[in-house]
């Protein structure tokens, strides 16, 4: 096994939250889904329909596919949020913990360069954790598709069951793309957290947050401007508008007219039509971010290499 693969396995051994936390949330989604399905079935049996059938009648294969995609996309977004929190805490902990328990001297007794060690941690955050999350997402979405599809079949329509595989494939591919661009966009944040983890003696979370807040405050006091705050905001949420096409055709309308609920969907081109890396690749934000990431990363490697604890 190559040293890099071994180093990444080590990260997964040490930081079990990387897989356990998304798994726990996935299990929770499945449990809620299962309860809801049982509820639907029970209502169906007790009340003999209760209007669900009528609503389902208004669906066609296209709309069922779009609805399935939306449901799955919601799971993907939720798991992504969980994953980002896990990643942030992982990065803050990974170089700090080994100094705190003094095991860094053991790690440093192995013939592995600091570049490789710190690199394995960044790679874990930017690539391995998203891959783990993608696998968990796919498994959870499959389970929920099966549960919901069977429930809907019971309620009178097989449309969801047949629309599922294609919808899942599209959502999974879109999700993979989103994870990839998100990792690239967040690299400076990841590298900053690594640097804080390598450098801070205590209160890593505070050290991660305070400096950017202080820069914002200083800028506001001295210049009366908010450029830095906008930069941070752009870094936190700016990737999605850049990486996805803003297509007004892709809309979902719920129409409520009295007792009659109708689902009107225009989801003509599917999710993958939204994938549009062009403006992201052309944006200075991506490349500037990568340069900043390289600086923070080098600093983190340097600090781990030359930090003398005594």
């Amino acid at each position: 096994m190559s040293p890099m693969r071994m180093l990444i396995r080590r990260e997964l051994w040490e930081h079990r939250a990387i897989s356990l936390v998304p798994l726990a949330f996935g299990a929770l989604f499945i449990a809620v889904n299962l309860l809801a399905a049982l509820g639907v079935v029970k209502v169906h049996i007790d009340a003999g329909g209760l209007g669900l059938s009528e609503m389902l009648q208004s669906l066609d294969a296209h709309k069922a596919g779009a609805l399935t995609q939306i449901g799955m996309a919601l799971i993907a977004v939720s798991l992504n949020t969980v994953m980002l929190l896990v990643t942030a805490f992982y990065l803050l902990d990974c170089l700090y913990a080994e100094r705190k328990d003094r095991s860094n001297l053991f790690w440093k007794s192995l013939p592995v360069s600091d570049l490789k060690v710190v690199g394995s941690k960044l790679l874990t955050a930017a690539l391995v954790i998203p891959l783990v999350t993608l696998v968990i997402f796919t498994a959870v979405a499959l389970c929920m598709y099966a549960i919901t599809g069977v429930t809907m079949l019971f309620s009178g329509t097989g449309l969801f069951l047949s629309a599922g595989p294609l919808a899942l494939a599209e959502v999974a591919l879109t999700h993979a793309y989103a994870l990839a661009v998100q990792s690239l966009w967040y690299l400076p944040i990841f590298a900053w957290l690594l640097l804080v983890s390598a450098w801070s003696r205590r209160a890593v979370l505070l050290w991660a947050i305070l400096p950017p807040v202080a820069v914002q405050a200083a800028e506001g006091l001295l210049l009366g401007t908010t450029h830095f705050a906008e930069l941070i905001k752009e870094r936190l949420i700016g990737v999605y508008p850049l990486a996805f096409a803003d297509d007004s055709h892709q809309q979902l309308h719920w129409q409520y007219e009295g007792e009659h609920a109708d689902v009107d969907l225009e989801f003509s081109d599917g999710l993958l039509a939204l994938v549009d890396p062009g403006s992201l690749i052309g944006s200075p934000g991506l490349w500037g971010g990568l340069i900043v990431a390289a600086l923070f990363f080098s600093a983190a490697v340097w600090v781990r290499r030359f930090r003398d604890e005594s």
Partner: protein
């Protein structure tokens, strides 16, 4: 003879204070060198410099390389046990073996496993579940299975009971050490290692005060227990130090003719600890 470590003018300052003050020394292959000194003398700083864990001034070569720039290459041939309790607590024993196998090209896993088989350590145990003595055994098993040229031990048996300490040095000497290996060790428990050392270096206030092989120490230093009535005679020969033990005066002589001191009382080679205390006092005077 191959020189593994060569330091000249090695210095390290913390703030204004010198932890190492222009130290020169070298370590040859096939030796077991004890680096001995009081707390804060610079022992750990010297070891850290050798291991590339700290910055320093002066010139230092370890296996012909500069530990500041070529640390991870050096670590292919250098092992160290810094303190027994530093193996990562979350690792399992078998994971530890797998990890070192994956990261150290000179690690022989079956050798480590056969060493562990002689202990009560179970492969599935977490390191946090092991006693301090068992963690040392595990660390020792790892180190013994690595084909290294230099082994650095910094207080390796701190906090262990006497059985483990004896076992530790017994394994090092019996199963590990040979003419191709070299060991650099620091410890407070000098008495326990002096019989295995081939060389000693005394370090005090960042300076080397004695750098000798054990053979030349027995030629150079003599300890004589003298009855009080002949103490003045002994003093006239210029001893390095004088102490009182059970009513007799014990003198330490350096470079003295054995025939001159033999009539005064019982002559023997001094222990490293006594020699160390005398040398430090001499420096302070």
């Amino acid at each position: 003879m191959t020189t593994l470590v060569k330091a000249s003018g090695l210095s390290k300052h913390y703030g204004g204070a010198a932890a190492l003050d222009g130290v020169d020394f070298q370590i040859e292959q096939g030796r077991i060198v004890g680096l001995i000194g009081p707390n804060g003398a610079g022992k750990t700083t010297a070891l850290k410099a050798v291991l590339g864990l700290t910055s320093f001034e002066g010139d230092l070569r370890v296996l012909g390389r500069d530990p500041r720039r070529e640390r991870h290459q050096i670590m292919q041939d250098v092992c160290f046990i810094a303190d027994v309790a530093v193996l990562p607590r979350w690792l399992r024993v078998k994971q530890t073996l797998e990890l070192v196998q994956g990261l150290h090209p000179k690690f022989n896993r079956s050798k480590a496993e056969s060493f562990l088989a002689k202990t009560s350590i179970k492969p599935d145990s977490k390191i946090s579940q092991l006693s301090k003595g068992m963690v040392t055994q595990l660390h020792l098993a790892l180190v013994m299975a690595i084909e290294a040229r230099l082994l650095v031990l910094d207080e390796p048996t701190l906090g262990l009971d006497i059985l483990f300490r004896k076992q530790f040095y017994g394994s090092i000497l019996g199963d590990y050490f040979d003419e191709n290996r070299t060991i650099l060790v620091t410890t407070h428990q000098v008495e326990e290692i002096e019989h295995i050392l081939t060389d000693v270096m005394f370090i005090d206030q960042g300076r080397i005060v004695l750098d000798e092989s054990m053979d030349s120490i027995s030629n150079r230093f003599l300890e004589v227990a003298v009855n009080p009535d002949r103490a003045d005679e002994a003093r006239s020969l210029g001893p390095v130090s004088e102490t009182e033990v059970f009513g007799r005066r014990v003198f330490l002589f350096e470079n003295v003719d054995i025939d001159h001191v033999r009539p005064l009382g019982d002559v023997r080679t001094p222990g490293i600890a006594d020699l160390f205390v005398a040398k430090i006092k001499e420096q302070a005077a």
